[in-house]
């Protein structure tokens, strides 16, 4: 339980929480989905659920780019690491994600050259400094990181660095939200919209949610007050029977998005006809691949990958948790076979995974209660 005076601006938080209680119709149950894993993290870390009345439920969305990758794609990337002379590079978040034959870290322990980078440009630099090796970068992320990967590829071409390739697993947020709304087992009343993805794509791409699906959506920042203010704005819209896109994160998110970033993405990437997402199945036009003009830097074309579809272990309910159908603690493996120390799926490993967030902030506090509920 988080007490109000533990926050930075307790009076403002208290007032906003009070406003939420005033606006929420006691006869109604609200289900708001926060799309982005960063918001899930904030919500658990700051104990924001405790500040909401019981009839407002926060549902975790699929906005964790590591979590939504099917195990087969991890295997494909790691198969490239097995080629002699290849240096496999990825963000730290990827290192403990389980593939069928182990995680990147486990591959490293078995003798393959696996390294953490904090920027795709550092993977490129590594290639420049190791001309006799081939450096592959396992690119992941929504539209937040895709522009950086794009710029890196443009730089590789300009500089003529040929011992470098990208294994592209960038996915796009709009089709994921569409899949949630199309799903028969979901009932979502409104969305707490992504923060950093929106700095790139802006607020316009969400218009169809408000107009065609008649659901309010508020692009939101990551501070406790941001999320609470967003809930106020969503409640106000619902009470007034309005449905529109609003920007609560104006200090960072421009309505029009980032033109340079969108241009870089369009130069280097195109949409795959379809891509498999853990939990959501095959979604059309939901992921990026490298254009023919940059084929030379496309790891999938330079190396042949197995491309085998690998399903999650039967007992694991990663897909349902990703969709928001199940809460992390409702998965049968949660806290038992699956923990951050020995994860069965990426949701327990990634900093944006809802299982990891729940485990680290809720489960540890009251393990006895949690196991009663599981």
């Amino acid at each position: 339980m988080r007490f109000v005076d533990e926050f930075r601006e307790p009076e403002l938080i208290a007032r906003t929480a009070g406003e939420i209680r005033r606006l929420a119709d006691p006869q109604r149950r609200y289900r708001f989905m926060e799309v982005c894993g960063g918001h899930t993290h904030s919500i658990y870390r700051f104990g924001l659920k405790d500040l909401l009345p019981p009839n407002i439920e926060l549902v975790h969305g699929p906005g964790c780019p590591v979590c939504v990758l099917p195990m087969g794609r991890i295997d494909d990337g790691l198969s490239i690491a097995e080629h002699p002379g290849v240096i496999f590079t990825a963000f730290g978040d990827m290192m403990r994600v389980p593939g069928t034959h182990g995680s990147p870290l486990e591959y490293k322990a078995r003798g393959m050259d696996v390294r953490i980078v904090y920027s795709p440009s550092d993977a490129l630099k590594l290639a420049q400094n190791n001309p006799e090796r081939h450096v592959m970068f396992f690119a992941i992320g929504f539209e937040t990181t895709a522009p950086s990967t794009a710029l890196t590829l443009m730089r590789a071409r300009t500089l003529g660095v040929h011992n470098f390739s990208i294994f592209c697993n960038h996915v796009t947020i709009i089709p994921a939200i569409r899949a949630i709304l199309d799903s028969p087992d979901m009932r979502i009343d409104a969305f707490i919209g992504p923060g950093h993805v929106s700095t790139v794509i802006g607020c316009r791409p969400y218009a169809w949610i408000a107009q065609n699906e008649a659901k309010p959506i508020v692009v939101t920042g990551f501070e406790p007050l941001d999320v609470l203010q967003s809930v106020v704005m969503l409640l106000r819209q619902l009470n007034q029977r309005e449905t529109k896109v609003e920007n609560q994160y104006k200090r960072v998110v421009p309505w029009e998005g980032n033109r340079a970033a969108l241009k870089a993405m369009a130069e280097v990437f195109e949409l795959r006809p379809y891509f498999e997402w853990r939990g959501l199945g095959f979604i059309s036009q939901s992921a990026l691949r490298i254009r023919d003009a940059y084929a030379e830097w496309d790891a999938e074309r330079r190396f042949s990958v197995p491309g085998v579809r690998v399903t999650d272990p039967k007992a694991a309910q990663c897909g349902e948790v990703l969709k928001g159908v199940l809460k992390p603690e409702q998965c049968k493996l949660f806290g038992r076979e699956c923990t951050p120390e020995h994860p069965i799926g990426a949701l327990m490993v990634s900093s944006e995974g809802s299982c990891a967030a729940y485990y680290n902030y809720e489960h540890r506090k009251t393990p006895a209660l949690a196991s009663l509920g599981a």
Partner: protein, 105 residues
């Protein structure tokens, strides 16, 4: 990776108008400004950085808020690890230059 790290532009690099030396959480690193070219950022400006690329220009007040929020989120260690990790091969040179008072490469 949803970590958005605030940094202050110290110097624009002469040989590449898209690269700048930025001080981030106590270390100096080269950051790519290619995504915010239109913002015409100059030394003294604050930016939000994501995987080594500046994503947007922000006010100093918002930058300080973001730093405090990273601490409250328990992410300040990860953020510092990330900042220190930028420039796998260039950072040692930067720190050496900075220590000797020389100009960064």
């Amino acid at each position: 990776m949803c970590l958005a790290i605030p940094g202050k532009i110290e110097e624009l690099l002469a040989e590449d108008r898209d690269l700048a030396v930025v001080s981030i959480l106590g270390v100096r690193r080269k950051v790519d400004l290619g995504l915010i070219r239109d913002d015409r950022a100059v030394p003294g400006d604050w930016v939000l950085i994501h995987v080594g690329f500046a994503m947007s220009k922000i006010s100093e007040a918002d930058a300080l808020d973001q730093m405090r929020m990273l601490t409250e989120l328990g992410e300040s260690e990860s953020a510092m690890e990330e900042a220190r990790g930028y420039g796998l091969d260039g950072s040692e040179e930067l720190e050496r230059e900075a220590a000797t008072g020389g100009r960064p490469v």
